[in-house]
Protein backbone atom coordinates (compact mmCIF):
# COMPACT_ATOMS: atom_id res chain seq x y z
CA UNK A 1 0.00 0.00 0.00
CA UNK A 2 1.55 3.30 -1.08
CA UNK A 3 1.02 6.75 0.35
CA UNK A 4 -1.21 7.66 -2.56
CA UNK A 5 -3.46 4.67 -1.80
CA UNK A 6 -3.81 5.81 1.80
CA UNK A 7 -4.78 9.30 0.66
CA UNK A 8 -7.22 7.75 -1.84
CA UNK A 9 -8.96 5.97 1.04
CA UNK A 10 -9.05 9.25 2.97
CA UNK A 11 -10.74 10.88 -0.03
CA UNK A 12 -13.41 8.15 -0.08
CA UNK A 13 -13.91 8.55 3.66
CA UNK A 14 -14.29 12.31 3.21
CA UNK A 15 -16.96 11.76 0.55
CA UNK A 16 -18.81 9.37 2.91
CA UNK A 17 -18.61 11.81 5.84
CA UNK A 18 -19.78 14.71 3.70
CA UNK A 19 -22.67 12.71 2.24
CA UNK A 20 -23.82 11.60 5.69
CA UNK A 21 -23.71 15.16 6.99
CA UNK A 22 -25.60 16.45 3.97
CA UNK A 23 -28.42 13.95 4.49
CA UNK A 24 -28.57 13.62 8.26
CA UNK A 25 -28.23 17.22 9.44
CA UNK A 26 -31.10 19.63 9.64
CA UNK A 27 -29.55 23.10 9.63
CA UNK A 28 -28.93 24.54 6.19
CA UNK A 29 -25.58 25.98 7.27
CA UNK A 30 -24.34 22.57 8.39
CA UNK A 31 -25.56 21.08 5.12
CA UNK A 32 -23.46 23.65 3.26
CA UNK A 33 -20.40 22.72 5.33
CA UNK A 34 -21.05 19.01 4.73
CA UNK A 35 -21.44 19.66 1.02
CA UNK A 36 -18.07 21.38 0.99
CA UNK A 37 -16.50 18.38 2.75
CA UNK A 38 -18.08 16.09 0.15
CA UNK A 39 -16.68 18.30 -2.59
CA UNK A 40 -13.23 18.27 -0.98
CA UNK A 41 -13.33 14.45 -1.07
CA UNK A 42 -14.22 14.44 -4.77
CA UNK A 43 -11.42 16.94 -5.52
CA UNK A 44 -9.02 14.73 -3.59
CA UNK A 45 -10.02 11.75 -5.77
CA UNK A 46 -9.10 13.87 -8.78
CA UNK A 47 -5.77 14.54 -7.11
CA UNK A 48 -5.16 10.82 -6.55
CA UNK A 49 -5.98 10.06 -10.18
CA UNK A 50 -3.65 12.88 -11.24
CA UNK A 51 -0.85 11.46 -9.08
CA UNK A 52 -1.35 7.99 -10.57
CA UNK A 53 -1.19 9.47 -14.05
CA UNK A 54 2.29 10.93 -13.55
CA UNK A 55 4.12 10.95 -16.83
CA UNK A 56 6.11 12.94 -19.35
CA UNK A 57 8.54 13.98 -16.63
CA UNK A 58 5.86 15.55 -14.41
CA UNK A 59 5.04 14.61 -10.81
CA UNK A 60 1.36 14.32 -11.72
CA UNK A 61 -1.07 14.71 -14.61
CA UNK A 62 -1.74 18.47 -14.93
CA UNK A 63 -5.19 18.15 -16.51
CA UNK A 64 -7.11 16.86 -13.45
CA UNK A 65 -5.17 19.32 -11.29
CA UNK A 66 -6.25 22.24 -13.45
CA UNK A 67 -9.85 21.00 -13.25
CA UNK A 68 -9.62 20.89 -9.44
CA UNK A 69 -8.44 24.51 -9.37
CA UNK A 70 -11.39 25.50 -11.53
CA UNK A 71 -13.66 23.43 -9.31
CA UNK A 72 -12.42 25.00 -6.08
CA UNK A 73 -13.13 28.51 -7.33
CA UNK A 74 -16.59 27.58 -8.60
CA UNK A 75 -17.32 25.78 -5.31
CA UNK A 76 -16.42 28.95 -3.44
CA UNK A 77 -18.77 31.01 -5.61
CA UNK A 78 -21.56 28.48 -5.10
CA UNK A 79 -20.94 28.43 -1.34
CA UNK A 80 -21.07 32.22 -1.16
CA UNK A 81 -24.40 32.20 -3.02
CA UNK A 82 -25.81 29.40 -0.84
CA UNK A 83 -24.80 31.27 2.31
CA UNK A 84 -26.43 34.50 1.17
CA UNK A 85 -29.62 32.59 0.34
CA UNK A 86 -29.52 30.98 3.80
CA UNK A 87 -29.11 34.35 5.45
CA UNK A 88 -31.95 35.85 3.40
CA UNK A 89 -34.21 32.89 4.24
CA UNK A 90 -33.47 33.47 7.89
CA UNK A 91 -34.07 37.22 7.66
CA UNK A 92 -37.44 36.74 5.98
CA UNK A 93 -38.86 33.67 7.75
CA UNK A 94 -36.65 33.25 10.84
CA UNK A 95 -36.00 29.66 9.81
CA UNK A 96 -32.60 27.96 9.94
CA UNK A 97 -33.80 24.76 8.26
CA UNK A 98 -35.81 23.89 5.18
CA UNK A 99 -38.17 21.53 7.01
CA UNK A 100 -41.46 20.90 5.23
CA UNK A 101 -43.62 22.18 8.05
CA UNK A 102 -42.03 25.35 9.36
CA UNK A 103 -42.92 26.51 12.87
CA UNK A 104 -44.57 29.87 13.45
CA UNK A 105 -42.33 32.46 11.81
CA UNK A 106 -40.62 34.54 14.43
CA UNK A 107 -39.29 37.99 13.76
CA UNK A 108 -35.50 38.05 13.59
CA UNK A 109 -33.98 39.99 16.45
CA UNK A 110 -31.99 42.44 14.36
Amino acid sequence: MTGTDILALAACGLVAIGLYGLVAQAEVLRKIIAFNLLGAGVFLLFGVVARRGAGAGLAADPVPQAMVITGLVVAFAATALALVLTLRLYQITGAATVAEDPPEPTAPDS
Binding site: V49, R52, T70, T79
Partner: protein, 315 residues
Amino acid sequence: MTAGLLLDLLLALAVLGTAAWTLAARSQFAAVIGFVVTGLLLTLVWVRLGAVDVALTEAAIGAGATGVILLYVVARLRGGEAEISAATPSRAQRALAALLALSVGGALAYGVLSLPDPAPSLAEAALAGTAPLGLGNPVSAVLMAHRGLDTLLEAIVLVFAVLAVWSMAADHRWGGRPGPVFQREEHGPLSLLARILPPVGIVIGIYIAWVGADSPGGKFQGGTILAAMWVLPWIAGLVRPPSVTDWRLRLMIAIGPLTFLAVGLAGFVVAEGFLAYPPGFAKPLILLIEAAMTLSVAAALACLIAGPPERRRRA
Protein backbone atom coordinates in the same frame (compact mmCIF):
# COMPACT_ATOMS: atom_id res chain seq x y z
CA MET B 1 10.25 6.33 2.28
CA THR B 2 9.00 5.19 5.67
CA ALA B 3 8.77 8.69 7.14
CA GLY B 4 6.81 9.84 4.10
CA LEU B 5 4.42 6.91 4.44
CA LEU B 6 3.88 7.65 8.13
CA LEU B 7 3.21 11.29 7.26
CA ASP B 8 0.58 10.25 4.70
CA LEU B 9 -1.09 7.95 7.19
CA LEU B 10 -1.16 10.64 9.87
CA LEU B 11 -2.58 13.19 7.42
CA ALA B 12 -5.27 10.79 6.22
CA LEU B 13 -6.38 10.00 9.77
CA ALA B 14 -6.26 13.67 10.77
CA VAL B 15 -8.39 14.77 7.80
CA LEU B 16 -11.01 12.12 8.51
CA GLY B 17 -10.96 12.90 12.24
CA THR B 18 -11.41 16.65 11.84
CA ALA B 19 -14.10 16.15 9.17
CA ALA B 20 -16.05 13.86 11.50
CA TRP B 21 -15.54 16.36 14.33
CA THR B 22 -16.92 19.11 12.08
CA LEU B 23 -20.19 17.19 11.73
CA ALA B 24 -20.34 16.28 15.41
CA ALA B 25 -19.57 19.80 16.70
CA ARG B 26 -22.35 21.08 18.91
CA SER B 27 -22.30 24.71 17.83
CA GLN B 28 -22.19 26.08 14.31
CA PHE B 29 -19.22 28.22 15.31
CA ALA B 30 -17.23 25.12 16.28
CA ALA B 31 -18.30 23.37 13.08
CA VAL B 32 -16.84 26.19 10.98
CA ILE B 33 -13.55 26.05 12.92
CA GLY B 34 -13.47 22.28 12.29
CA PHE B 35 -14.06 22.87 8.58
CA VAL B 36 -11.22 25.37 8.31
CA VAL B 37 -8.88 23.02 10.17
CA THR B 38 -9.82 20.24 7.76
CA GLY B 39 -9.07 22.59 4.87
CA LEU B 40 -5.63 23.41 6.28
CA LEU B 41 -4.83 19.70 6.58
CA LEU B 42 -6.05 19.18 3.01
CA THR B 43 -3.46 21.75 1.90
CA LEU B 44 -0.75 19.46 3.29
CA VAL B 45 -2.38 16.47 1.58
CA TRP B 46 -2.27 18.30 -1.77
CA VAL B 47 1.44 18.98 -1.29
CA ARG B 48 1.98 15.27 -0.60
CA LEU B 49 0.08 14.50 -3.83
CA GLY B 50 2.55 16.62 -5.79
CA ALA B 51 -0.09 19.25 -6.57
CA VAL B 52 1.42 22.46 -5.25
CA ASP B 53 -0.85 24.63 -7.44
CA VAL B 54 -3.90 23.01 -5.92
CA ALA B 55 -2.41 23.29 -2.42
CA LEU B 56 -2.12 27.06 -2.91
CA THR B 57 -5.73 27.28 -4.11
CA GLU B 58 -7.04 25.09 -1.29
CA ALA B 59 -5.22 27.12 1.35
CA ALA B 60 -6.40 30.43 -0.11
CA ILE B 61 -9.95 29.70 -1.21
CA GLY B 62 -10.95 26.30 0.17
CA ALA B 63 -9.93 26.97 3.77
CA GLY B 64 -9.36 30.71 4.17
CA ALA B 65 -12.02 32.49 2.13
CA THR B 66 -14.74 29.86 2.57
CA GLY B 67 -14.11 29.78 6.32
CA VAL B 68 -14.41 33.54 6.61
CA ILE B 69 -17.73 33.76 4.73
CA LEU B 70 -19.12 30.81 6.70
CA LEU B 71 -18.25 32.47 9.98
CA TYR B 72 -19.77 35.82 9.06
CA VAL B 73 -23.05 34.06 8.31
CA VAL B 74 -22.88 32.07 11.57
CA ALA B 75 -22.45 35.37 13.38
CA ARG B 76 -25.88 36.47 12.14
CA LEU B 77 -27.92 33.27 12.26
CA ARG B 78 -29.80 32.43 15.44
CA GLY B 79 -31.44 29.09 14.77
CA GLY B 80 -34.21 28.06 17.12
CA GLU B 81 -33.31 24.95 19.12
CA ALA B 82 -36.85 23.57 18.81
CA GLU B 83 -37.08 24.06 15.08
CA ILE B 84 -33.74 22.35 14.48
CA SER B 85 -34.50 19.34 16.62
CA ALA B 86 -37.92 19.02 14.95
CA ALA B 87 -36.28 18.99 11.54
CA THR B 88 -33.45 16.62 12.46
CA PRO B 89 -33.98 13.16 10.96
CA SER B 90 -34.91 10.33 13.29
CA ARG B 91 -32.43 7.72 14.48
CA ALA B 92 -33.58 5.19 11.87
CA GLN B 93 -33.30 7.76 9.09
CA ARG B 94 -29.82 8.67 10.23
CA ALA B 95 -28.82 4.99 10.29
CA LEU B 96 -30.06 4.71 6.72
CA ALA B 97 -28.06 7.82 5.77
CA ALA B 98 -24.97 6.28 7.37
CA LEU B 99 -25.55 3.09 5.38
CA LEU B 100 -25.86 5.10 2.18
CA ALA B 101 -22.72 7.08 2.94
CA LEU B 102 -20.76 3.93 3.82
CA SER B 103 -21.80 2.13 0.64
CA VAL B 104 -20.95 5.11 -1.54
CA GLY B 105 -17.59 5.49 0.20
CA GLY B 106 -16.91 1.76 -0.07
CA ALA B 107 -17.79 1.64 -3.76
CA LEU B 108 -15.53 4.64 -4.41
CA ALA B 109 -12.69 3.00 -2.46
CA TYR B 110 -13.10 -0.21 -4.45
CA GLY B 111 -13.15 1.76 -7.66
CA VAL B 112 -10.11 3.90 -6.94
CA LEU B 113 -8.01 1.00 -5.64
CA SER B 114 -8.76 -1.15 -8.68
CA LEU B 115 -7.76 1.54 -11.18
CA PRO B 116 -5.31 0.26 -13.80
CA ASP B 117 -1.65 0.82 -13.00
CA PRO B 118 -0.12 2.84 -14.58
CA ALA B 119 -3.22 4.95 -14.93
CA PRO B 120 -4.15 6.53 -18.25
CA SER B 121 -2.65 9.99 -18.37
CA LEU B 122 -3.25 13.13 -20.37
CA ALA B 123 0.10 14.54 -19.24
CA GLU B 124 1.87 13.94 -22.55
CA ALA B 125 -1.02 15.21 -24.67
CA ALA B 126 -1.33 18.31 -22.51
CA LEU B 127 2.40 18.98 -22.65
CA ALA B 128 2.53 18.49 -26.41
CA GLY B 129 -0.38 20.88 -26.94
CA THR B 130 0.92 23.58 -24.64
CA ALA B 131 4.68 23.40 -25.22
CA PRO B 132 4.72 26.19 -27.86
CA LEU B 133 3.16 28.64 -25.37
CA GLY B 134 6.40 29.05 -23.45
CA LEU B 135 4.80 28.56 -20.01
CA GLY B 136 6.96 26.62 -17.56
CA ASN B 137 4.07 25.60 -15.32
CA PRO B 138 2.04 22.79 -16.97
CA VAL B 139 -1.03 23.46 -14.82
CA SER B 140 -1.17 27.12 -15.89
CA ALA B 141 -0.67 26.02 -19.48
CA VAL B 142 -3.60 23.62 -19.22
CA LEU B 143 -5.75 26.30 -17.59
CA MET B 144 -4.99 28.86 -20.27
CA ALA B 145 -4.82 26.74 -23.42
CA HIS B 146 -5.72 23.05 -23.14
CA ARG B 147 -8.88 23.77 -21.12
CA GLY B 148 -9.08 27.51 -21.74
CA LEU B 149 -12.85 27.44 -22.18
CA ASP B 150 -13.31 26.07 -18.63
CA THR B 151 -11.23 28.89 -17.22
CA LEU B 152 -13.16 31.52 -19.18
CA LEU B 153 -16.50 30.16 -17.97
CA GLU B 154 -15.18 30.00 -14.41
CA ALA B 155 -14.18 33.66 -14.64
CA ILE B 156 -17.72 34.50 -15.77
CA VAL B 157 -19.19 32.37 -12.95
CA LEU B 158 -17.42 34.62 -10.45
CA VAL B 159 -19.05 37.73 -11.97
CA PHE B 160 -22.48 36.10 -11.87
CA ALA B 161 -21.91 34.99 -8.28
CA VAL B 162 -21.21 38.60 -7.29
CA LEU B 163 -24.37 39.73 -9.14
CA ALA B 164 -26.42 37.04 -7.42
CA VAL B 165 -25.07 37.92 -3.97
CA TRP B 166 -25.74 41.62 -4.51
CA SER B 167 -29.25 40.97 -5.76
CA MET B 168 -30.09 39.32 -2.41
CA ALA B 169 -30.15 42.73 -0.78
CA ALA B 170 -33.53 44.16 0.17
CA ASP B 171 -34.65 46.81 -2.33
CA HIS B 172 -34.25 49.77 -0.02
CA ARG B 173 -30.66 48.77 0.73
CA TRP B 174 -29.57 48.80 -2.89
CA GLY B 175 -26.75 51.20 -3.50
CA GLY B 176 -25.37 50.84 0.01
CA ARG B 177 -21.99 49.57 1.04
CA PRO B 178 -21.65 45.82 1.60
CA GLY B 179 -20.84 44.10 4.87
CA PRO B 180 -21.24 44.79 8.56
CA VAL B 181 -19.74 47.89 10.18
CA PHE B 182 -16.72 47.26 12.36
CA GLN B 183 -15.56 49.44 15.21
CA ARG B 184 -12.35 51.28 14.61
CA GLU B 185 -9.79 51.03 17.38
CA GLU B 186 -7.15 53.60 16.60
CA HIS B 187 -4.32 52.15 18.68
CA GLY B 188 -5.30 48.49 18.86
CA PRO B 189 -3.19 45.64 17.51
CA LEU B 190 -5.70 45.12 14.70
CA SER B 191 -5.26 48.63 13.30
CA LEU B 192 -1.51 48.09 13.35
CA LEU B 193 -1.79 44.77 11.51
CA ALA B 194 -4.22 46.25 8.98
CA ARG B 195 -1.67 48.96 8.26
CA ILE B 196 1.51 46.91 8.01
CA LEU B 197 0.28 43.67 6.46
CA PRO B 198 -1.38 44.90 3.21
CA PRO B 199 1.78 46.43 1.66
CA VAL B 200 3.67 43.17 2.19
CA GLY B 201 0.63 41.09 1.22
CA ILE B 202 0.00 42.98 -2.01
CA VAL B 203 3.60 42.38 -3.10
CA ILE B 204 3.29 38.68 -2.24
CA GLY B 205 -0.08 38.44 -4.04
CA ILE B 206 1.35 39.94 -7.22
CA TYR B 207 4.40 37.70 -6.88
CA ILE B 208 2.24 34.54 -6.59
CA ALA B 209 0.18 35.61 -9.60
CA TRP B 210 3.34 36.44 -11.58
CA VAL B 211 5.28 33.21 -10.93
CA GLY B 212 2.19 31.26 -12.02
CA ALA B 213 3.57 31.23 -15.56
CA ASP B 214 6.61 29.17 -14.63
CA SER B 215 6.03 27.60 -11.22
CA PRO B 216 3.03 26.93 -8.97
CA GLY B 217 0.84 29.99 -8.48
CA GLY B 218 -1.44 32.01 -10.70
CA LYS B 219 -4.30 34.44 -10.92
CA PHE B 220 -6.71 32.71 -8.56
CA GLN B 221 -4.20 32.21 -5.75
CA GLY B 222 -2.67 35.66 -6.13
CA GLY B 223 -6.09 37.27 -6.54
CA THR B 224 -7.29 35.70 -3.29
CA ILE B 225 -4.34 37.16 -1.41
CA LEU B 226 -5.09 40.59 -2.87
CA ALA B 227 -8.75 40.20 -1.86
CA ALA B 228 -7.73 39.30 1.69
CA MET B 229 -5.46 42.33 1.87
CA TRP B 230 -8.40 44.50 0.75
CA VAL B 231 -10.79 42.98 3.26
CA LEU B 232 -8.39 43.32 6.21
CA PRO B 233 -8.69 47.14 6.49
CA TRP B 234 -12.51 46.79 6.26
CA ILE B 235 -12.49 44.40 9.19
CA ALA B 236 -10.23 46.74 11.14
CA GLY B 237 -12.69 49.56 10.48
CA LEU B 238 -10.03 51.69 8.77
CA VAL B 239 -11.92 52.03 5.48
CA ARG B 240 -15.41 51.19 4.26
CA PRO B 241 -15.91 48.95 1.24
CA PRO B 242 -17.02 50.78 -1.93
CA SER B 243 -20.69 51.09 -2.74
CA VAL B 244 -22.07 48.48 -5.14
CA THR B 245 -23.01 51.23 -7.57
CA ASP B 246 -19.41 52.44 -7.83
CA TRP B 247 -18.46 52.11 -11.49
CA ARG B 248 -14.78 51.56 -10.68
CA LEU B 249 -15.63 48.50 -8.60
CA ARG B 250 -17.88 47.16 -11.36
CA LEU B 251 -15.18 47.72 -13.96
CA MET B 252 -12.63 45.90 -11.81
CA ILE B 253 -14.92 42.89 -11.46
CA ALA B 254 -15.67 42.72 -15.18
CA ILE B 255 -12.33 43.63 -16.74
CA GLY B 256 -10.79 40.14 -16.46
CA PRO B 257 -13.57 38.13 -18.12
CA LEU B 258 -13.99 40.88 -20.74
CA THR B 259 -10.28 40.79 -21.62
CA PHE B 260 -10.39 37.00 -21.73
CA LEU B 261 -13.46 37.07 -23.98
CA ALA B 262 -11.97 39.73 -26.25
CA VAL B 263 -8.76 37.73 -26.74
CA GLY B 264 -10.87 34.62 -27.32
CA LEU B 265 -12.98 36.32 -29.99
CA ALA B 266 -9.91 37.85 -31.61
CA GLY B 267 -8.77 34.26 -32.10
CA PHE B 268 -11.37 33.94 -34.88
CA VAL B 269 -9.63 36.69 -36.83
CA VAL B 270 -5.92 36.26 -36.13
CA ALA B 271 -5.70 32.50 -35.31
CA GLU B 272 -7.56 29.25 -35.97
CA GLY B 273 -10.61 29.92 -33.81
CA PHE B 274 -12.12 30.82 -30.46
CA LEU B 275 -9.49 31.04 -27.68
CA ALA B 276 -6.67 30.14 -30.06
CA TYR B 277 -3.57 32.29 -29.67
CA PRO B 278 -1.69 33.56 -32.73
CA PRO B 279 1.74 31.90 -32.91
CA GLY B 280 4.46 33.99 -31.34
CA PHE B 281 2.03 36.15 -29.37
CA ALA B 282 0.71 33.46 -27.04
CA LYS B 283 2.73 34.36 -23.98
CA PRO B 284 2.13 38.16 -24.01
CA LEU B 285 -1.60 37.59 -24.56
CA ILE B 286 -1.75 35.05 -21.73
CA LEU B 287 0.09 37.45 -19.43
CA LEU B 288 -2.39 40.20 -20.35
CA ILE B 289 -5.33 37.93 -19.51
CA GLU B 290 -3.66 36.81 -16.28
CA ALA B 291 -3.05 40.38 -15.16
CA ALA B 292 -6.64 41.48 -15.85
CA MET B 293 -8.00 38.30 -14.27
CA THR B 294 -5.93 38.75 -11.10
CA LEU B 295 -7.55 42.13 -10.61
CA SER B 296 -11.03 40.78 -11.28
CA VAL B 297 -10.59 37.73 -9.04
CA ALA B 298 -9.43 40.00 -6.23
CA ALA B 299 -12.41 42.35 -6.61
CA ALA B 300 -14.96 39.56 -7.04
CA LEU B 301 -13.71 37.56 -4.05
CA ALA B 302 -13.62 40.66 -1.86
CA CYS B 303 -17.24 41.40 -2.83
CA LEU B 304 -18.28 37.80 -2.17
CA ILE B 305 -16.66 37.97 1.27
CA ALA B 306 -18.32 41.31 2.05
CA GLY B 307 -21.78 40.09 1.05
CA PRO B 308 -24.86 42.00 -0.11
CA PRO B 309 -25.11 45.77 0.38
CA GLU B 310 -26.31 46.95 3.77
CA ARG B 311 -27.14 50.27 5.26
CA ARG B 312 -25.29 51.40 8.30
CA ARG B 313 -27.16 49.92 11.23
CA ARG B 314 -28.92 52.58 13.27
CA ALA B 315 -27.80 52.41 16.86
